[in-house]
Amino acid sequence: MPVVTLRDWIPVALSADLPAATVIPAHTPSGILALWRSANGELATLADRCPHRGMRLSYGFVRGEALSCIYHGWSYGQNGQCRRIPAHPDLTPPAAIKAASYPTEERNGVIWIALGEPKAPPPALEGFKPLRSITLEVDAKLISATGDVRTRLAGVDVLLLIVGISGSETVAHLMVDAAATESDCVTVSRAAEGWRRECEQLGVKELAS
């Protein structure tokens, strides 16, 4: 069964790594975005730059349904519109104070971001469940031409969603056979460490050649 991932959508994180009321830096080939989930569970992605002073919003915090900047507490809604400026509590922030926002979808335990406006939803990746995300110090091109790796780790079917985030850094979201047991998952997680070392060795050889 070939797995087609539409790269209109970039896989950036596993759902389990972003609980309610948290924000994380989402690494994409075009840079870092602030990915957050509100207390009610709403997902949103904003440019990782507070329009006020340029602080990274992914350093901030989520209180209720808003993402707040760690610097001066300016807070933003899911659409990026500034909602509150603590130093000016009576001011309704002007519409121009807005961080860019990006389409964000969650499917089968994987969170996807689009930089454009995709026509189709992200892939379901049926038959797999998410295990963990790892970062490799290697060029993604050396691992996969298509953005995915289908292989077996420790005898279990796995699907790796590969995202090159720079010429020397790659994120891999590791999905395992949906039927894998807890103990299979631990074994695969350990095998993934070895897989990473192998991939990084490829990078070292490439540099040497």
Binding site: A13, L14, A16, D17, P19, A21, T22, I24, P25, H27, I32, F61, V62, R63, G64, S68, I70, H72, G73, P86, A87, H88, P89, L131, R132, S133, I134, T135, V171, E182, C185, V186, S189, R190, E193
Partner: protein, 220 residues
């Protein structure tokens, strides 16, 4: 009980944090490490010939290793933090207490070189620090598979406190924590513990307190 303390020392912070989490009162004795180099002065060398901080003194007992201080405080005030249920758990605790020395050497070394401008081979400290961070991440990822979020038991133990500060301060040594989702959630769980205290570079979770409301503008 006197803790010879330095506000920027992650090892001293471990002891302050442990005391805060277990409700123990410490008498803090601020050592003028910088610029006074007081830790190298004769009165402190008499307590600790190695000239390092922290030092914990309780009557006749003098401790100079932070891992031992964590054991002492836990045994005195909160034995549940020792987390020793069976042979494997007891060994896990010892594993992480010893492992925390690697964090001090590598992540602490990178931080001292990068931030405090002490001599050191930054790229090789960072390489070794990355191996350490990956080991912590892999261990925590395994714990999460079985539904737990701490290093050595189904609750926070001295193992977590021993490893937390240098991991949290890794960015001071030029190592981003972005690649480690399980470490991020673990650090959050530790910062949510009742009684948690901060040190410079490790802040509390602002979202745990309600949004401040005031008629007066907040100072910024």
């Amino acid at each position: 009980m006197i803790l010879y303390d330095y506000i920027l020392s992650p090892d001293a912070y471990k002891v302050r944090l442990m005391a805060a989490l277990t409700g123990l009162k410490l008498e803090l004795w601020a050592v003028d490490m910088h610029p006074g180099r007081e830790h190298q002065s004769e009165p402190l060398l008499a307590l600790n010939p190695a000239g390092s901080i922290p030092i914990l003194v309780d009557g006749d007992l003098i401790l100079t290793e932070s891992a031992a201080m964590l054991v002492y405080l836990a045994k005195l005030a909160a034995p549940e933090w020792l987390g020793e249920n069976d042979a494997a758990d007891a060994a896990r605790i010892q594993q992480w207490l010893s492992f925390s020395r690697r964090l001090t050497d590598h992540l602490g070394g990178a931080r001292a070189t990068e931030m405090l401008v002490e001599p050191g081979d930054l790229p090789s400290l960072q390489r070794a620090g990355t191996v350490d961070l990956r080991e912590v991440e892999a261990a925590l990822a395994e714990r999460r598979i079985v539904g737990q979020c701490f290093l050595a038991a189904d609750r926070a133990t001295i193992a977590d406190i021993a490893c937390f500060p240098y991991v949290a301060l890794a960015p001071d040594g030029g190592l981003s924590l972005d690649p480690y989702p399980s470490i991020r959630l673990w650090m959050r769980a530790i910062r949510m513990l009742p009684g948690f205290i901060e040190m410079p570079g490790i802040h509390r979770l602002h979202e745990l307190k309600p949004e401040p409301v005031s008629d007066m503008p907040e100072t910024v």
